[in-house]
Amino acid sequence: MNLPPDAEARLAAWRDGLRREGITARQTLDELESHVRERAGDRMEQGMEAGAAVDVAIALLGAPEELRQEFSRVGTDRRFTHVAAMGLGLGVAALLVLWLCLPQLGLRHRWMHSVQGSGNMVCIVVFPLVLGWTIYHAAAWRGQLAQGGNAHAWATTSLRVSIWITGAAGLLWWSAAMDWIASLLFTYLLLAALGAQAAALAGLLRYTKRRLRPDAIAVATLMATVISAAWTSWPTRILFRFSRASLEALATQVEAGQAIEGPVWVGGFRIARTEKRVENGGGGTCLWVMPSAGGPSGLVRRGLADRDEPGWNINRRIRLDERWYYVSED
C-alpha cells in the first residue's frame, strides 16, 4: 500500500532518527521500515488516517534508544573471547613498545643488539596489525560490531578512512620529498592504516552480510594507484608539468646568481633552498624541497654544458625530462 507524501515524510524522519541513534545497517532499517509499513497498512485498511497509522506503528515498534539497546546485544555473546583477545593484543603491544623503548631505558641485553635492526623492523610491521586486532576486539566487546547496531558504521567508516589514509600515505611516499624520519612516519601511517583496514574487513566479514565488492574495487584501485605511482612517479611528473615554467624561471635566476630567501612556492613545489653546483661532468641548479644537511631532496636542472646526469651521492633519481631531475641525496 502506497503512503501519502506526509506519511512517507514521517517514516523517513523516523528512519533518520534510528540512524542517528546508531542503527545504521541498511538491511536492518529496511526490515524495521517494512514492519512499520505492514502495521500501518493494516490500520489504514481498518479506516485509520495514514499519518496516524504510521505514528501508531512506529510507537508500537518501540523507542529508537530501546531498539538500539536490543540490537546492541546481538553479537556480544562471545564477550569473554573478545576480552581475552583484547588482552592478548594489549599485551603484545606493550611488549613491542618495551622492545622499542629498551635502548632508551638502558635495559637491552647484549643478545638483543645482534637482532636490533630486524627486531625494530618486526615491531614496526607487527605493531599496526596488533593495534588493528585490539581495536577490532574492543569494538566487538563493546557491542559496536553488533549486527544492526553500529557494525556498518564502524566497519565501513574505518575501512574507507584507512583506504584513503593508505592512499594518501602511498602517494606522498612516492611523490613528495622526505627525509628518513618523515619516510619512516609515512611507512608507519601506511601500516597502521592497513592494520585498521584488516580489522574493519574482519568485522565486515564476521558481523555483517554487506557486499564487499565496492570496497574490494576501492582497495584494488588504490593498490594500482600506489604501485603505478611507485613505478612511474606520475604524481611528481604531473606536478612538474604544471610547474615547469615557474621552475625554469627560478632556475635561470639561480644560475644568474640570485639565491632565494626562505621557502617559496614555485608552481606545486615548495622550494626551501637553492644552490648551484659545479662539478666535473655533472653539475646543475638545485631547487631543494627538503634542504636537509645530511641529504637534501628536490629538483635539479642539469646545465647545458653538463654531459652526465646528476650523480652525486644519490639515493633516488627520477628523470623528468632532458634537463630536469628529481633527486634525493643520501
Binding site: 500500500m1 514492519h35 540490537f71 546485544r73 553479537g75 558481523y207
Partner: protein, 110 residues
C-alpha cells in the same frame, strides 16, 4: 499478559516453532503469536528483530529478502538444520517444565 522475563525466555523457542511450520517474516510472526495466544503473549514489536538477527548469526535460521505481489519488500526467515535440532531440544525442555508444573499442580497439598 505474561511477565517480561517469560516472554524473553520463550521468544527463541517460539520463533523456532513458528518457522518449523514454514518460512515467515517478522510482522507475520508477531501477528500469529498474538492470535494463537489469544492476545496473552504480545511481543514488544521491536524486540523480535534483534532476536531474529541473533538466531540468524548463530546459524539457527536463514533470511532472504523478497518482493511480494504488493511490491513491498519482506525479509523471510526459514529454519536451518541446526535450528531444527534446537527446536527439538527446546520442545523437550519446555515439555519437561510443563509436565513438572502440571504434575505438581495435580498433587494435593500436604
Amino acid at each position: 499478559m505474561l511477565p517480561r522475563e517469560l516472554m524473553a525466555a520463550s521468544a527463541e523457542p517460539l520463533v523456532l516453532s513458528l518457522l518449523g511450520k514454514g518460512e515467515s517474516y517478522g510482522y507475520a510472526m508477531i501477528q500469529e503469536i498474538a492470535v494463537r495466544s489469544k492476545q496473552q503473549l504480545e511481543w514488544t514489536e521491536g524486540m523480535l528483530y534483534p532476536v531474529l538477527h541473533r538466531m540468524e548469526k548463530r546459524g539457527l535460521i536463514a533470511a532472504e529478502w523478497r518482493v511480494v505481489e504488493s511490491g513491498r519488500k519482506r525479509k523471510y526467515y526459514r529454519l536451518k538444520p541446526k535450528g531444527q535440532r534446537a527446536l527439538e531440544a527446546s520442545r523437550g525442555q519446555w515439555s519437561t517444565v510443563t509436565s513438572l508444573l502440571n504434575g505438581l499442580g495435580d498433587e494435593p497439598a500436604t
